[in-house]
Subunit: 327 residues, 2 copies
């Protein structure tokens, strides 16, 4: 900036005035300054500016499990859209479902003085956030609640959605329904399991431990689980997949199976409608999730001091399958 000032023959304050469009600069002077800026390729240092002004940095942090997962990338996109409308930029990070990594990312973002943080929490302990939140960094939890603190949260109706899935299958005559979920340490997985049990109760279906399996999904593990579920006289006639990845693994496991069980997935996924048979899913609007969370965050950034809110977004059953008929 001082180089620009020297070249234009003015003080650095005048350069500052020009780059900030402040009035009270003579047009001729402004032009000389602009020319110097152009010539030197000057770009003001936002870090220094934010430091001096004590203003917001114009960034927010977003932490998800994996930015490469279509579910989270859609979320990312929705968040970015809102952030852009508020003139903010987005720092993203993948926690890899690891609470230490999550913590590291959050603290790093705080050290960068992001204006707010959106997080799909991996861990269950968020006490480390208390000082940061007290220091004025708003935090909104997405898809899963905070472990041990009260904070803004935006969730989907995991329980209701799974109840609906069970009811749908029960209506088609299924009595032996299996549930394959992610690790029960994950809030959404636990809730959906709870919904599964609740759905069984409401539909007068006896709940069999042997038809439930909860673990971090891999193709191999899901393959084994599906094979086991389909064996014997008590084989499952329907399977509920606890999330999009599990649904895909199940589909792959079923690819060469003769008598396929009915399948309902939680989370919609691209091409679900083009498979044969098409896959019925409990769909929720991931964009809406991101929008709601980001809107809430920016309300906080702009000073909203009301008590922490908990928003639960609805889900809807998208019936597609011709494969639901019970044998």
């Amino acid at each position: 900036m001082s180089d620009v000032a020297r070249l234009a023959g003015v003080s650095i304050k005048t350069v500052s005035r020009v780059v900030n469009d402040e009035p009270a600069v003579h047009p001729d002077t402004a032009e000389r300054v602009m020319a110097a800026i152009e010539q030197l390729g000057f770009r003001r240092n936002l870090g220094a500016r934010n430091l001096r002004r004590g203003s917001t940095t114009g960034t927010i942090g977003l932490i998800v499990e994996d930015v490469g997962n279509p579910f989270y990338s859609e979320l990312n996109r929705a968040v970015e859209r809102i952030a852009t409308s508020f003139g903010r930029q987005v720092l993203t990070g993948s926690s890899e479902e690891n609470s230490d990594r999550e913590r590291e990312l959050v603290l790093e973002f705080c050290a960068r003085r992001v204006d707010g943080i959106l997080v799909v929490p991996a861990g269950l302990q968020h006490g480390y956030l208390v000082p940061e939140m007290r220091a004025g960094t708003p935090v909104v939890f997405i898809d899963r609640p905070a472990g041990d603190i009260v904070a803004d949260t935006v969730l989907v109706d995991n329980l209701g959605g799974t109840v609906e899935a069970v009811t749908h299958l029960a209506k088609h005559g299924h009595r032996r329904i299996a549930f394959l979920g992610d690790s029960p340490d994950i809030f959404t997985a636990a809730e959906r399991l709870r919904g599964f049990r609740e759905g069984c109760v409401r539909n007068g279906i006896s709940y069999h431990e042997s038809l439930v399996s909860m673990r971090t999904p891999t193709q191999e593990y899901i393959g084994d689980a599906v094979a086991r579920l389909l064996r014997g006289p008590d084989a499952a006639t329907a399977v509920i997949a606890g999330n999009n990845r599990i649904a895909v693994h199940v589909l792959r496991a079923l690819a060469h199976v003769e008598r396929r069980p009915a399948l309902v997935g939680f989370d919609d996924f691209e091409l679900a409608d083009l498979l044969n048979p098409p896959v019925t899913v409990v769909a929720h609007d991931v964009s809406a999730l991101g929008h709601a969370a980001a809107e809430l965050l920016f309300a906080r950034v702009q000073g909203d001091q009301s008590p922490p809110r908990k928003v639960v977004l609805p889900v809807r059953l998208v019936v597609r399958g011709s494969g639901e008929a019970a044998p």
Copy 2:
């Protein structure tokens, strides 16, 4: 920091020493400082630190067309992985295939003094980058080359891949092959079209304008195009989809068609193997694209001054279809 110093009864420089793990601090003093830091929830301001040290900011910028598109989110993930290994964080932005937006994002990132920029360019003019690059911000172009400047670039073999696709179909007896591509303003779309022509020539297939359509894809437009291609005595017997989105649109358009043409897509996509029939694609390793670009960027960040490099990654034809047989 001065609050911490006051509470611990030391100078702020000593606090600085403690948070930077500098030696020559008495253990007792260090402990007092740590306690004060803990009590006050102090977190050092990275912005100020970077300003003072004149060091790198520890961030890089990534600009893609749409962070929500699975193709770009996989790229994002790969870039993040490398960035993390270099202790950097990633600012992301979607250009929405709009060169003004791209420019805005790049300049904003530069103002934030990112250590480097990775960009999937939307526009064809990148002169605006020259001052930034001269000022020392390395830029690597991904998937498409820069319009009018020489810079590091990582591409995939668009031409070769499409030639291979045509050859594959020709081997199965197809003579009337259609090509549906994105807007020819997009480098990859233009290259793939070039590959299509080249493939036709090499396989002795006469090239028909009427079998080619290049436009920003929407479901409606692709639906119409497919309907047109399949009409009449000269109907296409095979279709090459110029990218993953087009492939999905084509699949949807073909969902209720009786005599489906063979389909080969450029870009692999999830579930392509589970469709009926499975979809043959020209696959390329998106992660490798991100890795290569990020590695190249960090080499530049660390001072590599060698002449700009152009890396072209191979593609491979993944044959899946049972649908390739010509009628």
